[in-house]
Amino acid sequence: MNKGIYSIENTRQLAKNTFLTRLAGDTSAFCAPGQFINIALDGFFLRRPLSVCDWDGEGLTVIYKTVGKGTKALANLPAGTKLDVLTGLGNGFSVETSGLRPLLIGGGAGVPPLYGLAKRLIGKGARPVVILGFNTAEEVFFEKEFAALDCDVTVATVDGSYGKKGLVTDVLPQGTTYFYACGPEPMLKAVYDRADTSGQLSFERRMGCGFGACMGCTCRTKYGAKLICKDGPVLEKEAVVW
């Protein structure tokens, strides 16, 4: 974990209620895709935890839905705003066990961390198959970005207004070697139930601190109580208890 001051380089809208913000600053605390940051915002006591979409030597990208007052405030901050941010939080995804044809399944606001994951899987020679699920056409984002990485991308929308009609579990392909999933808990459960390979799932919980101090985000696992912020947010399929 690092605590530092980060500067907003730019914020742009990607889809309905969905924004991308690029923050410039030290990224030395990151060691895996799927880790998250925790941003302090003026006027709010608790920090806002956001999964990291991607990072490089100069900064990082977050994509978030403006679901509450905090995320709305963040989306409205002008470029150049300085933010107090904790970085390199959580365990992130492990790319070691993916095999050559890993399946990446993202739902809505769970899509972003899979982008940084896809890049790193490709970097080690895998060819990811990506399924992105959204409610409706105006919420769809990052299809092109995944395609530009040379992933096989399928988009599914619940109302059928874009891509294939249905849930991510309605369009699961055959022949994949492993899976990574991030999205709402009902989606994670459905993926878990249908998966015929091993895999990793990234969970979301309301957090107090984000670094393992408050025990606010505890969940049950097959290996005892774990903290989503520190032991997670990524749990191996074999550890998950529903």
């Binding site: 605590k3 006591f45 309301r206 107090g208 101090a213 985000c217 505890t218 049950r220 109580a225």
Partner: protein
């Protein structure tokens, strides 16, 4: 050179700043962030006789200038704490350690404190009497002077180490309860625990917390905590650990002036993992500005003409 040291029940602290129970795990988890030996003391996560998972999630809600938690005393049980957590902390930290003990019956409190008392790695015992009494209709032990006195008396018999009693602010007369604890043999008082609070999600029309209610902490409660420290200082002759929204060196000095000998820092440390260090570093320049060379001279100093 300014002198930051204070004494709590005969235990010397190099400075009065302590991470509050339940906001710093068992300490050793944070040794990679900074040198724990810079702290005045470390207060361990609330520990009970038996392991507890705690409440269901969500356990955390936002509040104006603060937060509400309903963790529910998640801990691995006193045996695991004494056998694993305290030795792990002792590998990286040499200063005073405060064990925070919770319980749901007088017998449970006494048994748990007796174990902690025998552990050489623990210097002070802080008794959390805000837990519900399962034999008393679920009312908190800390809600009545009589129940507080009963539990403190029983624990006093079971332990020889300095015993601080952590009071609940959810009472009519905090001074009366503090006096009962002193009469029952407490060596000091810690206050305040969190204030009972809740939030409701207006779209779901449901309480935010799975437990419905939780405890409010953070800057929002600081003036309430300060007032209660003030009242308890007037009521008893034993030292006080003051807590409740302490976020900066100025807050710490204010707590000392109200009567606290040391301060615990909780919610501020959850927002900023370096809050305790920043408060410690902020004290010497603040003392210089205030013309103070010995910090302990400030304890209760605001009471002089009241």
């Amino acid at each position: 050179m300014v002198d930051l040291s204070v004494s709590l029940g005969g235990i010397r602290l190099q400075n009065p700043v302590i991470p509050a129970s339940g906001t710093f795990g068992f300490g050793h988890e944070f040794a990679s962030y900074y040198d724990l030996n810079r702290l005045g003391a470390v207060c361990l996560k609330g520990t009970t006789l038996h392991p507890r998972f705690g409440n269901e999630t969500p356990r955390i809600a936002e509040a104006p200038a603060g937060m509400i938690n309903a963790v529910g005393l998640q801990n691995p049980g006193v045996d695991a704490v004494l056998q694993k957590e305290v030795p792990a902390l002792r590998k990286v930290y040499a200063g005073p350690v405060i064990a925070n003990i919770g319980g749901f019956s007088v017998e449970e409190y006494a048994a748990c404190c007796e174990k902690a008392d025998r552990c050489p790695g623990i210097d002070i015992i802080e008794l959390n009497i805000s837990c519900p009494n399962v034999h008393g209709g679920g009312m908190s032990f800390g809600a009545s002077a009589k129940d507080a006195e009963t539990v403190v008396k029983a624990v006093r018999k079971a332990c020889r180490k300095p015993l601080f009693v952590k009071l609940s602010p959810n009472v009519t007369d905090i001074a009366e309860i503090a006096r009962a604890c002193e009469a029952a043999g407490a060596d000091g008082i810690s206050l305040i625990n969190t204030l009972l609070a809740m939030r409701i999600d207006i779209t779901k029309r449901k309480p935010v917390l799975a437990n419905v209610t939780g405890g409010l902490s953070g800057p929002a409660v600081f003036p309430v905590a300060l007032r209660m420290v003030w009242q308890v200082y007037k009521a008893v002759n034993i030292p006080i650990m003051g807590m409740g929204g302490v976020s900066c060196a100025e807050d710490a000095v204010e707590m000392l002036l109200a009567g606290a000998t040391a301060v615990q820092v909780g919610a501020a440390g959850l927002k900023n993992p370096f809050a305790c260090l920043e408060i410690i570093d902020g004290l010497p320049p603040l003392m210089e500005k205030l013309g103070v060379t010995k910090l302990s001279d400030l304890v209760g100093a605001a009471h002089q003409s009241y």
